[in-house]
């Protein structure tokens, strides 16, 4: 048996490793994704003051500090039996929109987009944001930088700090907005709406008008028929910050809808011996292995999961784009993994429109930003991180110290789906042992679409990050190694 190992995955600088096993004909037998897991969070959290959790958990990883911050804050609302004031909820949601703006821009232009804008077969050295700028122009590059930084600034104004917010408190927020700040934010948001529209137009021109790309999106190796999950509002429209968890089935119909507090009755986690990652699945359907279809409890989260799990977007322009996407790709649900990129841009537009509504809300400058807390107990907080449903669950003792903490992060929710997507893409593009840079990139694309986040990707500086592909013979002896430099 031959073994191909892709390690590490470029542009996602964690320690993720893809191993592809070939049979004696050189076709793919199976493929696995392995990631290291950060250990000991529960022990680390034990005995800490509950109100420190929004700050501590926002340091778990630099990717979704705002998502962890508010999942923790919402868990504290619940644990201290307090609801945030109406103004505080709006301030939190506005800040959350800022986070989506910079996060989705970053993924599309820097990480996922280069595969399309520069091309999946382009040399690795070109498939990055610099390649995007070469193709789309310096002016576009400037707009990308500007609007990403607007997202950061909005988050910074509301959160106290751009990257690691300090504003979330049980029952509200620590800081309101004054009229000048409102004006600043409004101006930035207006510009972001135009930029989101521009980004969708760019996707249209470069991806959708290219028949090869459309057939790549629709091709078999990138299809997965799982359940889909995401938070929805009371009209079943996508919501990032609050709502109920809705799961839709392979026909696009509602399977279950539940309160986040009920997650442990609805979701279980399966353990595989080859992976540190746990594989969540729907309890009522059960674990049937790494397979898709109605009888398998595996579900997808993230932009495509959310859009599939909802009936539309709550703002007019995004809703129009939502309808157009489903019409173009053949109705709900869309099973194509590569459609995550399109869904992400529609969400970017929604985030900007929603931010505009919120910043123009009369209540946004209210000083009623905090309610007094009650007695400490147990709390669960759920938000949609940019890459999917994120759950924080804490149990507090009588003094308000953490007794137990459990987190289910977005990439974990997608673990089963990501593993299957990699396997199916590998099976689809590798045959007779032929592997080159472009082929391996098409495997990575299946993975990158999810925008996965390995909390444990360290920031350690090292002397080079090559992409290594090891091929072993059927006695598992290494006979060939491909190497290319990381970016």
């Amino acid at each position: 048996m031959k073994t191909i190992t892709i390690d590490p995955i470029t542009r996602l600088e964690g320690h993720g490793k893809i191993s592809i096993f070939l049979n004696k004909d050189g076709n793919v037998e199976n493929a696995y994704l392995q990631i290291p897991e950060l250990r000991g969070f529960e022990r680390f959290a034990q005995g800490r003051r509950a109100e420190d959790m929004p700050q501590i958990t926002s340091r778990i990883c630099g990717v979704c500090p705002v998502a962890h911050h508010f999942a923790a804050t919402k868990a504290l609302d619940d644990a201290f039996n307090v609801k945030p004031t109406s103004a505080a909820k709006k301030l939190r949601e506005l800040m959350y929109c800022g986070y989506y703006i910079y996060d989705h821009i970053l993924h599309f232009y820097y990480l996922g987009g280069p595969d399309f804008i520069v091309g999946p077969d382009a040399p690795a050295a070109k498939r990055n944001v610099l390649g995007v700028i070469e193709k789309a122009g310096i002016e576009v590059g400037k707009e990308v930088i500007k609007h990403r930084s607007y997202g950061q600034k909005i988050t910074g104004i509301l959160g106290g700090k751009a990257t690691h917010p300090v504003c979330g408190l049980p029952g509200g927020v620590s800081k309101g907005l004054n009229k000048d700040e409102v004006k600043d934010i409004e101006k930035m948001v207006k510009s972001c709406i135009d930029f989101a529209k521009f980004s969708l137009k760019l996707f249209d021109d470069i991806v959708l008008k290219n028949k090869d790309y459309v057939s790549l999106i629709k091709s078999d190796p990138y299809q997965l028929k799982t359940y889909n999950m995401g938070l929805v509002d009371d009209k079943n429209k996508v919501n990032f910050y609050d709502g109920k968890i809705r799961v839709t089935n392979q026909e696009g119909k509602e399977h279950i809808k539940f309160d986040g507090k009920d997650y442990y009755n609805k979701i279980s986690e399966h353990v595989e011996e080859w992976s540190y990652m746990k594989f969540p699945y729907l309890k009522d359907i059960g674990w049937k292995g790494l397979v898709d279809g109605k009888n398998s409890g595996i579900y997808r989260v993230g932009p495509l999961g959310r859009l599939n799990a909802a009936d539309g977007m709550a703002t007019p322009l995004a809703d129009k784009e939502y309808k157009r996407m489903f019409e173009t790709l053949g109705g709900r649900p869309i099973n194509s993994t590569l459609a995550f990129h399109w869904a992400r841009l529609i969400e970017l537009l929604y985030a900007t429109e929603r931010a505009y509504e919120l910043v123009n809300d009369k209540e946004i400058t209210s000083d009623k930003i905090r309610n007094p807390v009650g007695e400490p107990g147990e709390g669960i907080g759920v938000v949609e991180a940019a890459r999917g449903t994120l759950i924080h669950h804490y149990k507090l003792d009588k003094k308000g110290l953490i007794e137990k903490a459990n987190l289910i992060v977005a990439t974990t929710n997608n673990a089963g789906a990501i593993t299957m997507s990699i396997r199916d893409a590998a099976k689809g593009v590798i045959s007779k042992g032929k592997v080159d840079d472009g082929i391996l990139n098409k495997v990575e694309m299946a993975f990158r679409a999810y925008d996965p986040c390995f909390a444990c990707a360290t920031h350690t500086l090292s002397g080079g990050m090559p992409l290594q592909v090891d091929i072993y013979n059927n006695r598992k002896n290494l006979y060939k190694t491909y190497k290319r430099l990381g970016e």
Partner: protein, 155 residues
């Protein structure tokens, strides 16, 4: 004197990974000069660059992984010497890439002098915690001295 920013980089809750932040905290006791800012960055890539712009000089203090060095070895490196800067953020771009990009887009506020004080931590133990291992703890005074010397070097 060059307008200088000293940044401790790392994740403060990932044990040895956060050593740069510990060094920056210690430096605050030793360096009090106009024109020198000391801060911590629990982030990398684009966000790190945001903190660096509008300075003439940036000194980053960070955990590094170097195979031919002993644990706790401290060294001063030029920006080009370490070829990959992995952020704690797998979603972000690397710092050299962020710098390249910004230059290409005409950003002229990037420090012309960027140096890295690296503390070799070897393989990272992926376990949450705020304490440093003893070899790495011992490296802090050395790193502090190295940064002080570097700051003084152009008075």
């Amino acid at each position: 004197m060059k307008k200088t920013i000293i940044l401790g980089v790392g994740n403060p809750i990932l044990r040895d990974d956060g050593v740069g932040i510990h060094v920056a905290e210690e430096l605050k006791k030793h360096i009090k000069k106009p024109g020198v800012t000391i801060d911590s960055a629990f982030t990398g890539g684009m966000n790190l660059l945001d903190l660096m712009v509008d300075h003439d000089r940036a000194i980053l203090i960070d955990a590094v992984k170097l195979k031919n060095k002993k644990l706790g070895d401290v060294g001063l490196y030029g920006f080009g010497e370490l070829s990959a800067f992995n952020t704690c953020n797998p979603h972000d771009v690397s710092l050299p890439q962020a710098v390249d990009l910004a230059k290409k887009l005409g950003e002229n506020r990037i420090p012309t002098d960027i140096k890295v004080v690296g503390i070799n931590i070897g393989e990272l133990n992926c376990e949450f915690g705020e304490e440093l291992s003893s070899e790495i703890e011992k490296a802090i005074p050395k790193a502090v001295e190295l940064v002080k010397k570097e700051v003084e070097s152009d008075g």
